[in-house]
C-alpha cells in the first residue's frame, strides 16, 4: 500500500536559521500518527511546510502527488486539512459562518455536514449565531477542528489540539479523533501530552533538533526509556 502522506528529506528555513534538517515521515490511510517532541524542535514547522505556508525543500507526496511548491490553498484543495495551534478562528464572524468558510465551495461536500458538527458538539449549535470570538478556548478549539473537517480533508494535520484545555474537553476532542478515524480520514497529530498520543496513535515519531530521532509504535516508545528521557521528558 502506498502512503497517504509521504515526506522525504524536508528542509525548511526561517530567514537564515535552518529549522528542519531532512525530516522523513509517512502516514497511511486511516491511520493516526503522532509527532512528538519538546517545544521548538520543529514539529509545527514540519506541518506548516507540508501545508505550503513555510517555504522548504525536499519532497511531500500526498496520495502520490507532489505538493512541494504548491500554494497553501491548492494543497488544501488536494485534501490536506490543517488545524493550527493558535486556534485561528475568525472572531467577528458567527460560529455558523466560520463553519461555512470551512467548506471549499458553496455547497457542503463529502463526509461532513453542518448537522454532523452540531451533533458532535452540541455547544456549537447553541452558539451558532454568536460571534466566534466570544467563545471559550475549548469551544474555539472544537470550532477550528470542525471548520477544517467541513472542507472534507482526507488527512488532517492537527497542531496541539489539547493545549490549555480542561480535561473534560480533552476527552471530547479525543472522541472526535475516533469519529474522524471511523470515517477513514488519517490524522497527523502534533502533541505534547504523551498519554493522549500513546493512547490514540497507531504510530509515533519523536522529533529533536529538526530531525526525526525515533519512530515506532506507542509500545515501542513505552519500552524505550532512553528516547523518552533524552527527547521528551522535561
Amino acid at each position: 500500500m502506498t502512503a497517504m502522506l509521504e515526506v522525504k528529506d524536508l528542509h525548511a528555513y526561517y530567514g537564515k536559521s535552518h529549522i528542519l534538517h531532512g525530516v522523513h515521515l509517512n502516514v497511511q490511510q486511516g491511520e493516526i500518527v503522532s509527532l512528538l517532541g519538546r517545544n521548538g524542535v520543529g514539529r509545527s514547522t514540519t506541518i506548516k511546510t507540508v501545508m505550503g505556508q513555510v517555504q522548504g525543500t525536499g519532497s511531500v507526496k500526498f496520495k502520490g502527488e507532489e505538493m512541494m511548491g504548491l500554494k497553501a490553498y491548492m494543497v488544501a484543495r488536494k485534501g490536506l486539512g490543517y488545524v493550527p495551534e493558535n486556534r485561528d478562528i475568525f472572531p467577528t464572524l458567527t460560529v455558523r459562518q466560520n463553519l461555512l468558510l470551512g467548506q471549499k465551495g458553496r455547497k457542503p461536500s463529502g463526509r461532513w455536514s453542518m448537522e454532523d458538527m452540531f451533533n458532535l458538539f452540541p455547544r456549537l449549535r447553541e452558539r451558532a449565531e454568536a460571534p466566534a470570538g466570544v467563545m471559550s478556548g475549548g469551544e474555539q478549539q472544537m470550532l477550528t477542528l470542525c471548520r477544517t473537517l467541513m472542507g472534507d480533508p482526507d488527512l488532517v494535520m492537527i497542531d496541539e489540539p489539547t493545549e490549555g484545555l480542561a480535561p473534560k474537553i480533552v476527552e471530547q476532542v479525543a472522541g472526535l479523533f475516533d469519529e474522524i478515524k471511523n470515517r477513514g480520514i488519517s490524522i497527523l497529530l502534533v502533541e505534547q501530552k504523551l498519554t493522549i498520543a500513546l493512547k490514540i496513535s497507531q504510530r509515533v515519531y519523536v522529533m529533536g533538533h529538526g530531525q526525526i530521532v525515533f519512530e515506532g509504535t506507542p509500545d515501542d516508545l513505552r519500552a524505550n526509556e532512553a528516547v523518552r528521557k533524552e527527547w521528551l521528558e522535561v
Partner: protein, 315 residues
C-alpha cells in the same frame, strides 16, 4: 439657518464621496498591510475616463464603464505590480504605489494636458431639486448622495451577506488560515484591490464634474483620504465612515465661519490690540485655517488615540 442646512447637505455629499475613497483604501490596508498611495489616482482616472467616455457614449453608460475600466487597472496593478514586489517587503510595496501615483499623474498630463478638462454635469441632472429658503439646491448633489448611499448599502450587503464577503472579512485578519482552508487568497486580494479601485473610480465619475477634473485632483483629495483613514482607525470601515462625515463637515463648514480667536478673547473679556504678542496668529479666522483643520484633527487623534476612532490595531 439657511447657511447651516445648505452646508450640512454639502458636507454630507462630500463626506459620502470621501467614504467611497476611504472605504476601499482601508479595506486594502487591513488586508495587505499596504497604504496604497495611488488610491486617489484611481479616483482621478475615474473622472478622466468618465469625461472621455461620456463624450462618446453619454454620462449614464460612462457611470458604469469608467469604474469598470478603473477596476481592471486596479486588478492589473495588484496582480502584476504589488504581487511582484511583495516579496521585498512593505517598504517596496509602499514605494511602488508611491511611484505609481506619479506615473499616473504624468500619463494624465500627457493625454489630457495640465489644464482642467470640461467634464460637465449631465444636462438631465442640471436643475435645482428643491429650495431651502432662498437657496436652490442642485439636483446633481442629491444624485451624488443617492449613488453614494446606494454604494454604501451594496458594500454592506456584499461584505456581510455573500460568501466572498465573508471570505474577505476573514482574510482581513487571518489570511494564512483562510488560505489553509482552500480559498484562493491571492485572488481575494486582487478582487479587493479591484473593488477598492472601482469605488475610487466611481467617486471620480460623480465627483469629477461636481468639483473639477484636473491633474492635481488626486494629490489634493489623496491627502485628505489618508487623514480620514488615520482618523477613523486603520482597517475599520465603520471608523472610515464616521471619519469621512466628520472631515467632510469640518472642511465644508469651516469655509463659512469668519470667527477667529480674537472673537473668543473678546467674549472672555481679554483685551487685545495689534501690538499684542502673537496677534497675527489670533486673527486667523476659521475659514482661513480651514485647509489645515483636518490635519490638526489627525495630529490630535494620533496624540490621544493612536489607533484612531475605531481602529483595531495598536498604535
Amino acid at each position: 439657518m439657511e447657511f447651516f442646512l445648505v452646508t450640512l447637505l454639502n458636507s454630507l455629499s462630500y463626506g459620502l464621496l470621501l467614504f467611497m475613497l476611504s472605504s476601499g483604501l482601508t479595506l486594502i490596508f487591513s488586508m495587505m498591510g499596504v497604504l496604497n498611495f495611488a488610491h486617489a489616482s484611481f479616483y482621478m482616472l475615474g473622472a478622466y475616463f468618465a469625461f472621455q467616455t461620456s463624450q462618446a457614449i453619454g454620462f449614464w453608460p460612462a457611470l458604469v464603464v469608467a469604474p469598470i475600466a478603473v477596476a481592471a487597472l486596479g486588478a492589473i496593478t495588484e496582480r502584476y505590480g504589488l504581487r511582484t514586489v511583495h516579496k521585498y517587503g512593505h517598504v517596496a510595496e509602499l514605494l511602488f504605489t508611491f511611484g505609481l501615483a506619479y506615473i499616473i499623474e504624468e500619463i494624465v498630463h500627457l493625454i489630457w494636458g495640465r489644464a482642467p478638462v470640461e467634464y460637465k454635469i449631465p444636462a438631465v441632472l442640471d436643475f435645482s431639486a428643491f429650495s431651502i429658503f432662498s437657496t436652490q439646491y442642485p439636483a446633481y448633489r442629491v444624485f451624488m448622495m443617492l449613488v453614494s448611499v446606494g454604494m454604501l448599502i451594496a458594500l454592506y450587503f456584499a461584505l456581510t451577506r455573500t460568501r466572498i464577503g465573508l471570505i474577505i472579512q476573514a482574510s482581513l485578519t487571518h489570511p494564512d488560515m483562510v488560505e489553509s482552508l482552500g480559498h484562493n487568497v491571492p485572488r481575494v486580494f486582487m478582487t479587493v484591490f479591484a473593488g477598492g479601485a472601482a469605488l475610487a473610480g466611481l467617486a471620480g465619475v460623480i465627483g469629477g464634474n461636481a468639483f473639477v477634473t484636473e491633474p492635481g485632483m488626486a494629490a489634493s483629495v489623496g491627502t485628505i483620504v489618508f487623514v480620514v483613514v488615520v482618523f477613523g482607525g486603520m482597517g475599520s470601515l465603520a471608523g472610515a465612515f464616521v471619519a469621512s462625515l466628520v472631515i467632510g463637515a469640518v472642511q465644508t463648514f469651516s469655509v463659512g465661519f469668519d470667527y477667529s480667536l480674537l472673537n473668543l478673547f473678546a467674549l472672555l473679556g481679554i483685551e487685545t490690540s495689534a501690538d499684542s504678542a502673537w496677534y497675527d496668529l489670533w486673527k486667523v479666522t476659521i475659514s482661513q485655517a480651514g485647509p489645515v483643520l483636518p490635519y490638526i484633527l489627525m495630529v490630535l487623534m494620533l496624540i490621544f488615540r493612536p489607533k484612531g476612532l475605531m481602529g483595531t490595531r495598536e498604535g
